[in-house]
Amino acid sequence: MPYIKEERPETLSVEGEWAYGAHVYKANTLLDEFCEGLREKKLIGALCMGCGKVIVPPRAICGRCHIRMEGRQVVSDRGTVVSYIVSPPMVKGKYKMLGMDPVELGIVKEGESLVPGHVRFDGSDSPYNLPILNARPEEVRVGMRVKVVWKEDLEGKLSDIEGVEPIRD
């Protein structure tokens, strides 16, 4: 490409490493409650008594009202795509994620695209980032109706939701 290129000569440089990113992640305590709900195919949201918003997964404090979200509301596992993106067709060895190859792992077939989307579940006021499964990339659009693809053996883990797929009835 006709970009103007400029490189500066390298002066003494030494490579090194420290365990900079190593840490213990502390999840929101409400995530346990949400995961328990998944075991029964329930999507639990937190209800704000100030503005009436329902946030999924639940959070402790409303981001706009700044009050505790003490209410609970189970929302539908059907919803609407509010945003999505499409990856280029995946080629083995070309795209890596944290050193992992989606084609090699069998997450996507060679030549197919990944289509992650934001889904607003009916009854909720928040986007949920999930893969859109069983759909051709060209048929996905904002406003498309989708439902959760549940894992066969529910374990009470976030992975119980495999993604969403178009409602075709």
Binding site: P9, G63, S126, I161
Partner: protein, 413 residues
Amino acid sequence: MPRPVAIIGCGQTKHLSRRRDVSQPELIAEAAWKAMEDANVTPDEVDAVVVGNMQGFGGVAQPDLWIGDWIGAPGKPVMRVTTGGTTGGTVAQAGYYHVASGLHNVVLAVAWEKHSDSKESGATTGLGHVGFGAQVNLFRCGMGLKGFIATSGVGMAAGVAVYQAMYYMHRSGCGIEHFDMVAAKSRRNAAKNKYAHLQWPNCTPEDIAKTEMVAYPFRYGHVCPASDGAAALVFADGNTARKRVRTPAWVKGLASITDEENQLISESGGGVGIIDSSEQMGARVAAQKAYKMAGIRDPQKEIDVAELYQPFPNQELLFAEKLGLFDEGKAWLALEKGETDIDGRLPCDPSGGVMSTNAIGAAAMLRILECALQVMGKAEEHQVPKKVNIAVAHGWGGSTNYNTVTVLGSSPD
């Protein structure tokens, strides 16, 4: 009311993907000394220093602890500020506060990033964190490898911005061709700015349209680079400003507004209440507050030039709307007519913007610096061909929920 404050000196380094010729403090010093020379002040005359970059970028956590000697900081108060992408904007605003409060007369504000010191490919620890940090945490909490790769394996550095672009396209009716136009304009403008990183003289939207799709709707040509570079500003009270330089850039208004976390899923594992990440309430509120302070009633008529924080092309359009420069959902129509070109009615990012030069910690300060240059008439080849009385600078960052807006003018009144 705070006392009048002006920017009296600007300094920036040449931005490149790899400044392997200098160390981090040397890079920072390059900008800091240029700013002090430009302001006609010696390091002894600087009362306080504010510094900032992104946490952990460049592979080190706290460069502020050892850069002081290179920029004349010993014996003075030093404060480090870091707020993600807005860092440079917040550092500059903190510099303003130091002077406006009456506690200090001359303050040096320095912001930088040296990506190439990090050995991680492409993005750095921090950028990856912004891009898919919350997803990584949920992956560890049992999201499963499949779900993680299927949601986070796309977009990568573009992260939340690519979803935001889709929201904006759906809402405003603009198309990918408008993203091509913004990108091409940025590369062309950058070619006129000797400090800019991605310079491409006479770049056309067709050139950008030929680049590979990274994640629909973004092409490779739509993505900002990771640059090594630094920026510095000298703030002074009104009396000092008038004595030291011929044309200070007066800080007429400023505001910084934080919204709730705004990247798909909260860092703490809960959901977020903002469905449309192109909504950016913080930018709108910050702009209105800053305009009120600056006495601006009609931003569409009164503002002469804007420097918007736009690492991705959709952001120039949506933030121009949030800052009131165009009606909601109409910025792309103005773009089509050439109104945002360097010689247009309301030039946006005549410097080339963040699309062309992205030393993250410095990027939001560079917006203010470029506005100061336009007001002072010192932008050289990328000076807009009209008298600049009012310029507005914007910064965007945090968990995509921080916004800074700074209004500069040619006179303090």
